[in-house]
Point group: C2
Chain length 190, copies 2
Amino acid sequence: MPRKPEYDRDDLIARARDIFWRQGWAGTSLKDLERELKLKPGSFYAAFGSKDALYGLALNRYAQEGVARLRALADRLGPLETLKAQPRLVIEASGAPAKACMLAKTYAELQAKDHELAGRAGVLMSEMKACFADLFRQAQDAGDIAPNYDPNRLATRYQSDLLGLRLSAERSDVDANEIAADIAADIDRL
Amino acid sequence: MPRKPEYDRDDLIARARDIFWRQGWAGTSLKDLERELKLKPGSFYAAFGSKDALYGLALNRYAQEGVARLRALADRLGPLETLKAQPRLVIEASGAPAKACMLAKTYAELQAKDHELAGRAGVLMSEMKACFADLFRQAQDAGDIAPNYDPNRLATRYQSDLLGLRLSAERSDVDANEIAADIAADIDRL
DNA sequence: TATATACTTGAGTGATCACTCAAGAAAGAC
DNA sequence: GTCTTTCTTGAGTGATCACTCAAGTATATA
């Protein structure tokens, strides 16, 4: 009997993710969202409940797609080449609204407030770290990386490097391609 | 003839820096500042003009003290040992209000808005990068680092690594000491 | 002591914040 | 067509934002 919504919910979440990713949590007002999503306040709150709830959905979507992209890459290239390619790919992503990692930006912005979304971002970063550790482990099993390294430690350092790289890539006075190449070169020395 | 202010301006700037550093630009309200600095709005605006102006002073102070600390360290340890010690020191700093770099947090938060303070943060990061490049150059001149490396490129990568390290150090699921040790170990391999 | 000068105080400004809700519009079920 | 259900609309909520300003207070100089 009911009427169907005029919007595509998944599409709205993806668009919201891009806005939040670029502008941050405090930097994005409901006015911004209403304008970009073409939703009046009533529809917005009927659909998502709150700004924070939508941010949470956007964050999950961001992380989920990141993991999916990494796994797809690993299926094509194998673990070692994936780890070597990721730094370059992550700063090339031409359609992305920002170079820096949305999880890191969220964590940095909201952690001091003990905001629930910071906790969520932390968990998602941890899951991403686990993905990297898996790849390092697989590369080790394949004999591409010396067996004396601890894959968890490698993953921790690798993720830290990626966070730095992606933040640096936002700067105009930094050649992020050089950093990406140097990170990839480090993988080869393991 | 006039009356003297009851506050120590330098001390207020340092305290404001700590608040901004921890909570960010949007995350710090004038109420926060008035409470922590024990200043009524009238005194605040007479002293600093605006929230942004005080943030600018705090940012300059942050960068200036960072450079001073690095130079002092270099005088004691020499360039190579300074570069090796810095990662550990920067995440140890027990009195600091946050592990992450205030310049990076400012840049990440405000760059999308084209805020003047983001530009300032970028310039200050660039100056810091130049300091690192100087140290790499000096270490090269001293024969501690092979001469075929480009000190500017080393500095870019090093700063990127430090940004990642300092962001990672805010996370409870990451052992930042391991990352710091690994960054220092990288210096030794040059 | 008298005066000039600046500092302190805090109520109050308009703007914007996230969010609500009642009324109107649209579409499937009958 | 009629009814029921949901979606859309947008004016309006109280709270908080950065900021102002006039009145009161303290102090160094004359």
